[in-house]
Structure formats: C-alpha cells, structure tokens
C-alpha cells in the first residue's frame, strides 16, 4: 500500500514536470503569435489609405508632408543594397575562415581564431556603428572624395563584420559534420589536402554552408543600429554604392518616436515592419528548405 502511494505521487510529478516544460515551450510560440497579431493590427490599416502596390513600389517616402506619401520602394532598395554588398564581403570571408578553422589551422591558432570570431559576434552593434561613423566614414569621404562617408559602402562593411561570425560558425559546424570516411577515401585515392577540401569536404558541407549564408543575410537585413548610424539616411533610390540610403529598419527606428499614435505615418511604419518580417521569414524558410532537402538525399549528386 505504501509503495503504491509512492508510485502515484511519482506519476503526478512526472505529469506536472511534463506540463511545465510544455508550457515554457509554447510560451515562446504564444509570444511570437501575439507580436504577429499586433504587427498586423497596427500595420494593415494603412491600406485603407493607399494600395499595397503604391506602398511597396511607390518611390516617394514623405510621411510628414501634406498630403503624405508612403512609397517604401527606396527603403526596400536600401535594405537590399546594403545586404547584398555586405554578403559580397561576408560570404567569402566567412566561408574561407570556416574552412581554415575547421580543416587547416593547427590547434593553437584554431582556438584563438574561434574565440576572436565569437568576440566579433558579441560586439554591440552600436559600437560597430560608432566605429563606422568616426573612422570608416571620414576615411571613405576623403579617399573617394565624396560628399558623405555615410553610405551603402560603409554600411555594407559594417554589416559584413556582423554577418561574418554567423556565416563562419554555422559553416564550421557543417564542415565538422562531414564524415571522416569521406576524407580518408579522398586521401587514399591520392588527393592532396586542398583537393580533398575543394572536391569532397566543401561539396559535402554545402547544405550547411548555404544555410549559413542565408542566415547571415537574414542577420544583415534585420540589423538596425548599424544602418541607422552609417547608411546615411537618404530615402532615395541610390545610383552608386557611395550613395546614402535609408534601409527599412533604420526608417522604422528613426521615425517611430515622432509618428503620432495611429496616424498614417505610424501605420506605414508598422506596414514596413510587416514587409521586413516577410523578407526575413522567407530567408529562414529557404534556409530550412535547403538544409532539409540536402539532408534527405545525402547531398545528392553534387
């Protein structure tokens, strides 16, 4: 009898613990759902005033004029431009450093590099933005004789510095996950270390590396503080990489404080948030799709 009672309380405890864990797991889902509802509730009323097409592809962003214009095309182009150029820098650097750390570097150097790259990830973005403003900006302005050093180029470099740790560490994990058997097979067939890296290890890790790149891009496009500080803030479609832009995130951060509650401007900024959310969601879905697809076919016929 005593034994039975003991096992009953044990059972109750199990259930309680399971539910507790379940609650915490669903809490984040719930929070995400609520944020989403809020985002759409505040953003969608804008489309009573203007059409979705005018909003997305309108080229004039004058939210405080009378009458106001809410075309975010220049903001979208600004976000895409800084992200694209940031990736142009961060992708090769991130992947190459991952290859070096995972396959080439001797023990001591490997540890140092890994910790430095992790430190890079921990750098507050406002510090990077400050660096871009007072060091990189003036340097760009002087070297290329520009009206301003706060432009796409500057933002791209800063965002690249932020995306490199993401790309590098996820790629590194993908490279480590390549089975040792593949490497041995390659060496046994008379391949050198570099032939093995290029022809076997990187192709076998490609799905992980692609995921790394896309997550790095998502990181760059969602970054706010750096672009707010160094992208220049001009809501116009850029003509060169030395033009100033105003990415979506910077626009939201800079204007939200001044937009009257539930005004057209306020709704337009939330709608911009929806666009941003859709873009990053797409990046994440693509990353997920790629990593699943390649996993199923064992990297397939690369």
């Amino acid at each position: 009898m005593k034994n039975r009672k003991h096992s009953l309380t044990k059972h109750t405890k199990e259930i309680a613990i399971r539910n507790l864990f379940g609650f915490f797991a669903f809490l984040s889902v719930l929070l995400f759902g609520l944020i989403l509802v809020f985002l759409f509730r505040e953003g969608l009323p804008l489309f009573k005033q203007i059409s979705v097409t005018d909003f997305l592809f309108g080229t004039a962003w004058y939210p405080t004029y009378e009458p106001p214009e809410y075309g975010i095309w220049p903001l979208i182009v600004g976000s895409l431009a800084v992200t694209f150029f940031a990736c142009l820098i961060a992708v090769p650097l991130g992947i190459l450093s991952a290859v070096y750390i995972a396959e080439i570097a001797p023990g001591g150097i490997k540890e140092i590099l890994k910790s430095v790259i992790e430190l890079l990830a921990g750098l507050p973005s406002v510090v990077l933005g400050f660096f871009g403003m007072v060091i990189v900006g003036p340097w760009l302005q002087e070297t290329f004789d520009l009206p301003t050093g706060l432009n796409i180029m500057n933002a791209a470099v800063m965002l690249a510095i932020m995306a490199i740790p993401t790309i590098s560490s996820i790629s590194e994990d993908a490279l480590y996950a390549v089975p040792r058997e593949f490497k041995e097979a390659s060496y046994a067939l008379g391949a050198t270390k570099y032939e093995t890296i290029i022809r076997v290890i990187i192709p076998a890790a490609l799905s992980g590396i692609s995921t790394a790149v896309i997550l790095g891009m998502a990181r760059a496009i969602g970054e706010t503080m750096v672009v707010l500080m160094v992208a220049g803030g001009a809501a116009a479609i850029p003509e060169s990489i030395f033009d100033a832009v105003r990415p979506m995130t910077a626009s939201i951060a800079a204007e939200m404080g001044e937009a009257p509650f539930r005004s057209g401007h306020y709704h337009a900024l939330f709608a911009t948030g929806i666009v941003l959310f859709v873009i990053t969601l797409a990046f994440n879905l693509i990353a997920d799709y790629i990593s699943n697809r390649f996993r199923e076919t064992g990297s397939g016929t690369l």
């Binding site: 046994a188 067939l189 076919t297």
Partner: protein, 253 residues
Amino acid sequence: MEKDFIVRTKNVDFFYGAFRALSDVTVDFEKNKVTALIGPSGCGKSTLLRLLNRMNDLIDGTRVEGEILLEGRNIYAPDVDPVEIRQRIGMVFQKPNPFPKSIYNNITYAPKLSGIVDSEEIEALVEESLRQAVLWDEVKDILTKSAMTLSGGQQQRLCIARALAMKPDVILMDEPSSALDPISTAKIEELIDTLKKHYTIIIVTHNMQQAARISEYTGFFYLGKLIEFNATEKIFTNPDVKQTEDYITGRFG
C-alpha cells in the same frame, strides 16, 4: 623460382604518442597474391595496413621507425610524396565510403586528380573499373544517380572500382566485408579472387574462415607483434607457433 616481393617491411616500429602499436614487424608481401592479416582487435594489423599507404600520416603524434619498401624504395624516405604512394597503393575501408556524388563521379575522382581529361578515356576507364568490380551490369543505366542510393554491398564494390580506376599495383583492404551481409561478402570474396591476377591484395580480416578461403599467405598478429607469417594452408593446418594455433582454434581472442 625466385619470389617477387612488391612490398616489404623491415623492423617496423610504430608509435601513437608513447604507445607502441607495432614492434619490429618484418614481413614481405608477394606480388599478385592475396595476403591476409589476422589477429584479435587492437593487435596492430590495421595499423600495419594503414602504414603501407601512409594513411597514418593523417593522425597527429604518430611516429614510424624502420623501413617500408615499395619495389625497393623506402616510402617513408623524406623525398617521397605520400600522394604518389597512395596512387600506387589503393585502399578499401571497413565501412563502404562512397562520396555523396554520382556513381560516375565516384569512379572518375582519382583519374581526374591525376590529370586525365580526355572524356573518351575516362568513360572507358569507368566501364572497365566497374566491370572489374563486377558492378557494371547493376549500375550501367544509373551512372548519374547518387552512389548513396546503392546497397551496402554495391557501395563496397563501387569503392573497389573507385580504387581500381586509379590503376594501383597494390590494394589494401581493411575488413572490407565486415559491414556486409553474407551474400555481399561472398561477392566481395569472389571479386578478390579474380582481382589477384592483376593486383597484389593485402587484406585485414576478423573472419578466420575468410582468411582461409581467399588468401595464399597469412600473418598472425598479437599485441603489436607479427607472431607468425606463413602460407595460409600451413597456418590453418599446422602452424609453427603455439600462440597461432591457440588463436585459430579459438582458445583466445
């Protein structure tokens, strides 16, 4: 008749850090014969095999003493490029390890590395290697499919074909059928029997019946030492050393 030894080891010692995995191993491998290396786990037989194509170079903190000669040349001499040695001495591993590439690209991996670019030559080589490995009829219509879609036995024969495409002189096999079912094992054994006409085969096996079935010579290892090396028939019927007999009759190991 003078015997033709293609690979010889002379007083080989091998260390993993401070641990001595092999001591004073001297053994000669005859050309175009099958030599089996047997012994309990951890006895050093696989270590010796991996020394023969310098695969142990890839492990940090190892050290070799003594000489290993391929046709009279010490493969551990400072001026020898391990890549060149590995091109002449192919290897098949315990677990089938085809690349996650197409069947065709698995075979062409080594030839392309060695600089063969002529597509007709490569195609001929693919067919020849797959025929030699008795896999051609099973895969000739699916050459562009991923090697990962093949069965374990087929994958292992693909790995053999991949090594053959390199045109090696010697093929090392490290328990090539231990991960396979009995039918696939029988196929691999048949294959070894036909391959020995053109290649020297050195095979590590846990399976003593397999050693008895397929090899001409057998070496018995115990605790890093070569206890006995003899004609297979002699080892399995009337070994010179008591320890060999004990192992073969199942008294230990």
